[in-house]
Structure formats: structure tokens, C-alpha cells
Amino acid sequence: MLEVILSALILLGALFTFIGSLGLARLEDFYTRLHGPTKATTLGVGSLLIASMVYFSTRGEGLSLHELLVTLFLFITAPVSAHLLAKAALHLRLRSLAVVPPRAEASAPQQANRDAPSDETVQR
């Protein structure tokens, strides 16, 4: 029974890790690509860490809570790094699949002059 639960958790975790990286490789623009690793991969690694926690807790050497540290750390830092990456991408004005709102379009030239040295970085 325990082995079934462990195997299911491990397979689920590896599958989500794989799907997250597949999204990173296959999606169209940076803002959609950001979703794969920051959500799917975090869930996958969390699932693997829970599997490891159960595995080492049931070997008769007492509770094993090291993994909780890694899980907590990953779950706290993943949104922060995703936010910073999105900020950097917006700053560099990367190509986006979404339609740009008209007000942002109107204010784009001034901002481009202020932020970026050349007009080639504005790819809209």
C-alpha cells in the first residue's frame, strides 16, 4: 500500500516536472513560457519531496522533515523569481502574444526613449 502511494507520488512529480519543462520548450512567447517552470515544475518538485519525506519517515528512523525545508524554500522563492523575470521581460519590451492596450501603445515611444537606447528593442 505504502509502495503504491510512493510510486504514484514519484510518477506524478516526475510527470509534472516534465510537463513544466515541455511548456518551457514549446510555448510561443516569454510570458506564456513563464507559466511552465514556475507552476508545473514547482508542483512536480513538491510532490517528489513529499514522496521522499514519506519514504524516509517510514524506514523506522523517526520523522524526516529535512525535505520540508526545501519544499518551503522552493514554494516561497518560485513566485519571487517569476515576478522578477516578468519585470525584466517587460523592461526589455519582449514580444508578446497578447494585444497591447491602446494607452500603453500611446505611451510606448516616450518610454522607449527613456529606457532603451535604440528603437530596435521595441518589437510591437
Partner: protein, 89 residues
């Protein structure tokens, strides 16, 4: 059963590594490459945890924890560099 599951998981995480590596090589912009590096270190944590289960040794968590912390610091530093042109102002 557990060893089969761990073997399949090794394969899947290895494939995830290859995908992130492809994005690191071909990613058209700098944020894509930083995101690929971020994914690589999260995948490394997954791989180390799997190795711990495979070998039955609890020794690998310290390595996983260190990689998680250092990877986060690296991502933040690279993003700050892109945002401000400098890391520590």
C-alpha cells in the same frame, strides 16, 4: 515497483533537463535563458531527491537545499542586472 517508478521518474526528469537545455541554447532573449537556468536548478533538486530515494540515503538533501538557495540568488542577481544594469548599486 518502487524501483521501476524511480527509473521512469529518472527518465522523465532527464527529458525535462534536455528541454530546459534546448531553451537555454536557443532562447531568443536573455530572460528566456535566465528562465531556462532557473528551471535547470529546480530540475536538479528533483534529480537529487530522486537519487536520495534510489540510493536510500538521506545525505543528498543538504546538496538539494544548497542548490535551491544558490539558484534563487543567481536568478535574482541576473534579473537585477537586466533591470538596473547593475547588481549592487
Amino acid at each position: 515497483m518502487l524501483s521501476t517508478a524511480v527509473s521512469i521518474a529518472f527518465l522523465l526528469v532527464g527529458a525535462a533537463f534536455v528541454m530546459a537545455l534546448l531553451r537555454l541554447l536557443y532562447g531568443p532573449d536573455q530572460p528566456d535563458r535566465i528562465l531556462a537556468l532557473d528551471t535547470l536548478y529546480v530540475n536538479t533538486v528533483a534529480l537529487l531527491v530522486l537519487l536520495g530515494i534510489h540510493l536510500g540515503s538521506a545525505l543528498y538533501f543538504e546538496a538539494a537545499l544548497l542548490i535551491a538557495m544558490m539558484g534563487f540568488v543567481g536568478t535574482v542577481a541576473l534579473c537585477k542586472y537586466l533591470l538596473r544594469g547593475d547588481i549592487i548599486e
